[in-house]
C-alpha cells in the first residue's frame, strides 16, 4: 500500500504545511494535544506507581495515585515467584523461532512473489491475502487438533510454528523487493550464482530495512500473542509471559496482590516499549504498510 511511501514523504512536506497553516489558534491545539497525551499515558502512570507500592499500602488504600513509600519489593517477589523465569525463557525462545522463521521463510516467499514470473503466482498471492483475512476464531479449533496430532501440544514448537511465516511479513518483503532493481540479481545470475546464493548473499543484504521491519513486527506479534499460546500451553513449563501472567493473576484474583501483578505487567511490556522507543520508524512502517498488528 502507499502508506509507507507517504510516511517517507512526511518530513519533506512538513515545511510547506507549516507555511500554510499558521492561523490555527496554537495554544488551544497544544492544550488539547497535551490533554489527550496525558489521558493516553495514564495507564502507564498507574502501572508504574502501582508496582512501586508495598503490599500493605495497596491493601489499605488501593486507589492512591502515587506511592507513599517507593519500594521495589514487588519486583523482588516477582522474580522469586515460581515459574516466572521459565515464562520469560519460553517467551524468548518462541519469539526467536518466530523471528528467524519470518526472516527466512516469509522473506523468501515475498522475494519470489516480487521477483519471479511463474505459474501459480496469482494463487500464491491470493493465499497471502487469504491468510491475512481468515479470522483466527475460524481456524483455531482445527489448528489445535493439528497441533495435537503432530504431537506438538504443550510444546514451544507448537506455540511458535503457526507464526513462522506470517502473511504480514511476506507482504512487507514483497512490497520492498519490488523496489530493488532486477539488474542486480540478473548480474549475479549470469555469473552462475545459484538462486539460493542470490537470495541470501545479494538480495537479503539489500533488503535490510524490510528485514528490520519484519524482525520487529514478528517479534512484537510473537511477544504479545495471547490466545494461541493460551490454547497450546497446558502446563507451567510451556507458559509464555502473557499466559503466565494471566494465569497467575486469575489464580490470585481474590488475593488482590496488585503490586505483584503490576510489576509483572511492567516486565511484560518493557522490552517492547524500549524497542519501540528506539526503533519507532519500523513499527510505524510495519503497521502503516500492512494495516495490521
Amino acid at each position: 500500500m502507499t502508506a509507507v511511501a507517504a510516511l517517507e514523504d512526511a518530513h519533506m512536506t512538513t515545511d510547506r504545511i507549516v507555511l500554510r497553516r499558521r492561523s490555527v489558534s496554537r495554544p488551544l491545539l497544544y492544550g488539547a494535544l497535551v490533554l489527550c497525551a496525558l489521558l493516553t499515558v495514564l495507564p502507564f502512570i498507574w502501572v508504574i506507581s502501582g508496582s512501586l507500592r508495598g503490599l500493605d499500602e495497596i491493601r489499605s488504600d488501593p486507589g492512591a495515585w502515587l506511592p507513599h513509600d517507593v519500594t521495589f519489593d514487588n519486583f523482588v517477589r516477582l522474580f522469586r515467584t515460581e515459574g516466572f523465569g521459565q515464562f520469560r525463557v519460553n517467551s524468548i525462545v518462541v519469539a526467536t523461532i518466530v523471528v528467524v522463521g519470518n526472516i527466512v521463510a516469509a522473506s523468501a516467499a515475498g522475494y519470489a512473489l516480487a521477483k519471479f514470473d511463474f505459474a501459480g503466482k496469482r494463487i500464491a498471492f491470493g493465499a497471502v491475502m487469504a491468510a491475512m483475512m481468515v479470522p483466527f476464531t475460524t481456524v483455531f479449533v482445527t489448528q489445535f487438533v493439528i497441533t495435537v496430532d503432530m504431537g506438538l501440544a504443550d510444546t514451544l514448537a507448537g506455540i511458535a510454528l503457526p507464526g513462522v511465516a506470517m502473511p504480514m511479513s511476506v507482504f512487507i518483503m514483497r512490497q520492498y523487493a519490488m523496489s530493488i532493481p532486477d539488474e542486480l540479481l540478473e548480474a549475479a545470475r549470469i555469473d552462475g550464482a545459484s538462486e539460493f546464493r542470490i537470495f541470501f548473499r545479494i538480495f537479503l543484504p539489500l533488503a535490510g530495512p524490510a528485514v528490520a521491519t519484519i524482525t520487529i513486527m514478528s517479534f512484537l506479534t510473537s511477544w504479545n500473542n495471547f490466545i494461541w499460546p493460551l490454547i497450546v500451553a497446558q502446563s507451567m513449563s510451556t507458559y509464555t509471559l502473557p499466559v503466565g501472567l494471566a494465569a497467575t493473576s486469575q489464580a490470585a484474583a481474590h488475593v488482590t496482590d496488585y503490586g505483584l501483578m503490576l510489576a509483572g505487567a511492567i516486565v511484560v511490556m518493557l522490552p517492547v516499549l524500549v524497542l519501540f522507543l528506539l526503533l519507532q520508524r519500523y513499527f510505524v512502517q510495519g503497521i502503516a504498510g500492512t494495516g495490521m498488528r
Binding site: 516467499a109 481468515v134 511465516a165
Partner: protein
C-alpha cells in the same frame, strides 16, 4: 561472484548461455523459474496449508458433525449431523446475545477509534512542529503494549476501590465496581479496545493526509475557502480511500474481539460482555468442537460480508 553487484557489466557475455532453440530455451527456463519460485514459497505454503487452508475447510467440516473434545483420538467415529449445529446456534439465546454484544463492540468501537485517530492525525498534520514527534510516539505507544499487562492495569484502575473511583470520590460520587456491573462492564471493555487501537487509526490517517498534495489546499485557500470548508470539501473526500481501509480494518478487528473481554471479564457479568469469538472459545473449552466450529464459521461469513459491503458502499464515491 561478489564483484557482480555493478549492474549491466557482464550482461553482453552472459546472454548466450542457454542452449537449444530460443523458443525451447525460454520455455524450459520458465519451468525452472516456476520450480525455483515455488521452492522459495514452500515454507510459507506449508504453513498456509497447515494452519489456514486446511483449518478453514476443516472448520466447515467439523461444523457439520457432532465432534467433541473427547473424540479427538477417533475423529472418524463422529457423526455427520448436517446443519444441526447451526440450528442449535440460532436457537441459543446466549449466542444471539453475543452477536448483539459483538455488534455493540463494532458500532461503538469503530467510530470512536476512527474519530479519535482522525482528530489526532489532523491535529498533528496541522503544521505544529514542536513536540510533534513526542505526541506521535505517545499516541502510538498503546498499540505496542501487551494486552494482558494492560488488562491488569484496567482491572486495577476500575476496581471498586481503584484509581478511577478515587477520582470520582473526590468529585463527590461513589463509584461502582465497574467490571461487576452488567451495564458498566461493556463500556470499560470497549474503552480498553479503543485505547489499544486509536494509534493504528491515527498512523493510517496521518499517512493518508500526507499523501494529499499541498497545491489543492493552496488553491482552495486562494479561492477563500476557510479551514472548515477545506476539511469538508478537500480533506474528507480525498481521504475516502484511507477512511475505507481504516473502517474495514477496524470493523474486522472488532468483529473478532476476544482478548479484552476474555481478560477483563471472561464475558461476564451475566454474559454482558461475551463476544462471538469468546463464545467460540467457551464452546471449544467445554468440548463442543462441532458447535464451536459452526460459530466460528458464522464469524468467517460475517467478516467476509462486512468487507464486501463496506467496499461496495464506499467504493463508487471514491
Amino acid at each position: 561472484m561478489t564483484t557482480t553487484l555493478v549492474p549491466g557489466t557482464r550482461r553482453a557475455q552472459g546472454t548466450r548461455r542457454t542452449p537449444g532453440t530460443p523458443h525451447r530455451a525460454r520455455r524450459s527456463r520458465g519451468t525452472r523459474r516456476t520450480a525455483v519460485a515455488w521452492l522459495f514459497l514452500a515454507p510459507f505454503t506449508l504453513v498456509f496449508l497447515l494452519y489456514t487452508a486446511i483449518p478453514t475447510i476443516a472448520a466447515l467440516g467439523f461444523s457439520l458433525t457432532d465432534l467433541r473434545g473427547t473424540d479427538l483420538r477417533h475423529p472418524l467415529a463422529v457423526d455427520f449431523t448436517g446443519l444441526e449445529n447451526y440450528l442449535r446456534l440460532f436457537r441459543d439465546q446466549s449466542f444471539l446475545r453475543d452477536i448483539l454484544n459483538t455488534a455493540l463492540f463494532v458500532a461503538v468501537g469503530v467510530p470512536m477509534t476512527m474519530g479519535i485517530g482522525f482528530a489526532l492525525a489532523v491535529a498533528l498534520n496541522s503544521g505544529i512542529r514542536r513536540l510533534r514527534g513526542v505526541f506521535r510516539t505517545v499516541f502510538f505507544a498503546p498499540v505496542v503494549t501487551n494486552v494482558v499487562a494492560v488488562a491488569l492495569i484496567w482491572q486495577y484502575a476500575f476496581n471498586e476501590s481503584g484509581t478511577v473511583n478515587k477520582v470520582l470520590g473526590a468529585a463527590g460520587f461513589s463509584g461502582p465496581n465497574w467490571l461487576d456491573d452488567p451495564n458498566l462492564a461493556m463500556p470499560v471493555v470497549i474503552l480498553l479496545g479503543v485505547w489499544r487501537n486509536f494509534g493504528t487509526a491515527m498512523v493510517l490517517f496521518l499517512a493518508g493526509l500526507q499523501a494529499i498534495p499541498e497545491d489543492v489546499y493552496e488553491a482552495a485557500s486562494l479561492d477563500g475557502a476557510g479551514r472548515w470548508r477545506q476539511l469538508r470539501h478537500i480533506t474528507l473526500p480525498l481521504l475516502l480511500p484511507t477512511t475505507l481501509m481504516v473502517s474495514v480494518l477496524l470493523t474486522v478487528f472488532y468483529l473478532q474481539v476476544f482478548d479484552e473481554p476474555y481478560l477483563l471479564t471472561n464475558g461476564g457479568p451475566l454474559g454482558s460482555t461475551e463476544s462471538v469469538a469468546l463464545y467460540t472459545y467457551h464452546q471449544f473449552g467445554s468440548g463442543e468442537f462441532g458447535l464451536s466450529s459452526a460459530a466460528s464459521f458464522v464469524m468467517l461469513l460475517l467478516v467476509a460480508l462486512v468487507s464486501v459491503v463496506q467496499f461496495r458502499l464506499l467504493k463508487p464515491r471514491a
